[in-house]
Symmetry: C2
Subunit: 224 residues, 2 copies
């Protein structure tokens, strides 16, 4: 029997579907971001404020991933933005097939930006490409400043790090969080990561995040 060496990686179903999603989004010139964090870092609150404050500049649609409930999709819909809820029924991350279903159910021709809010989990979602142009990792200051060191995978792969709930830092010293340590550790893992300290509750720091979004939506729209 002759041994045949296969030099090319065989793609699995998720990877094939992620490529299909990416092709669709590239063809339609829509920016798509995959937002990943622990439960409770404030992803939905960031989205609600971003959608509301940018509504005259860019149109945003959301694919919501949750184990159960449509609490988050309802919060998004209250802003009048379209949201498609996916319940993973226990699965710890979204798949490209689920996102494909989301893209079919959103009015993407009317949108500039599609944000996928992944299942709250700092580990598993980082291993599954969904067809996005980039990942946005959210870390709340309440989670502690050791997280890039302890969960390096997602920080190494993300385009943007949003350090959320910075309003806690001025609450009488109850939160021990060294923002410079997080920046140093994240940049050690990922030289090109863009870092925005924000509070989605008070609005502090959000303007820089908005500028980044508008710039990247524009680049996506004008690409050849």
């Amino acid at each position: 029997m002759k041994k045949v060496e296969i030099g090319k990686k065989i793609l699995n179903k998720n990877e094939i579907c992620a490529i299909e999603n990416k092709s669709l989004l590239t063809e339609k010139k829509k920016l798509c971001l995959n937002m990943i964090s622990s439960p409770g870092s404030g992803k939905t609150t960031i989205l609600v404020r971003t959608i509301t404050e940018l509504k005259d500049k860019i149109k945003i649609g959301v694919i919501e991933g949750d184990l159960q409930t449509d609490i988050d999709a309802e919060r998004i819909r209250a802003t009048e933005a379209p949201a498609f809820q996916i319940n993973t029924e226990g699965a710890c991350h979204l798949s490209a097939v689920q996102v494909s279903r989301g893209l079919k159910n959103l009015p993407i021709d009317d949108l500039d930006l599609i944000i996928i809010e992944n299942v709250g989990n700092l580990v598993c979602p980082s291993a599954f490409e969904l067809g996005e142009a980039g990942k946005v990792v959210v870390l709340s200051v309440a989670e502690g400043d050791d997280k890039p060191a302890k969960y390096p995978g997602i920080f190494a792969k993300s385009k943007v790090l949003l350090i959320n709930k910075i309003d806690y830092l001025s609450s009488g010293g109850q939160v021990d969080f060294d923002i410079e340590r997080v920046k140093t550790d994240a940049c050690r893992l990922n030289k090109t990561i863009e870092i925005f300290p924000i509070s989605a509750k008070t609005g502090q720091g959000m303007a820089d995040w908005y500028d980044w979004l508008i710039k990247n939506v524009e680049q996506c729209r004008t690409q050849i």
Copy 2:
């Protein structure tokens, strides 16, 4: 060909090893708890305070699960308690085989209680038995009061819910967290769950958690 019905579930490697761990712990009459939460809910801080404040009453050893680093094991060892660090190298939960290695490397004959600090993840660790007598889920108030509804699996399976960082609730109204909603949702999923609101930072509420631990260590020690 004759069709044979198999009425008994075939156990996988993790389940077999979990049973072996449980047998060892039962034989030695040691209480073992599997502590599960999102990253940054304060598991290690709870353990450090618990070990320190109970050191004259019960001897605690810790098996530390992390993707990377031995930051947490070092924090435990600073209390002079024994800690065995397991780096999962990207895996999102501890396995019973890893815990078996931890049990062999801890001086369990000298201990009353072994606490497994699982990888920070509210989803995957709940699906893997490790041989523990019970699970302890930790939820920080900074994560939001919708978590039992959104991540029901772990709340349904746990013996204890520690609602941590309750000191944030008195920090000038910066945290929106309805503790009664969490209690109601958790009890709906799990009628027997014991709930202790605590602050591992200030010590508030820790006495009730210590009483529960002491009572359960004693029950384990005197079981026939």
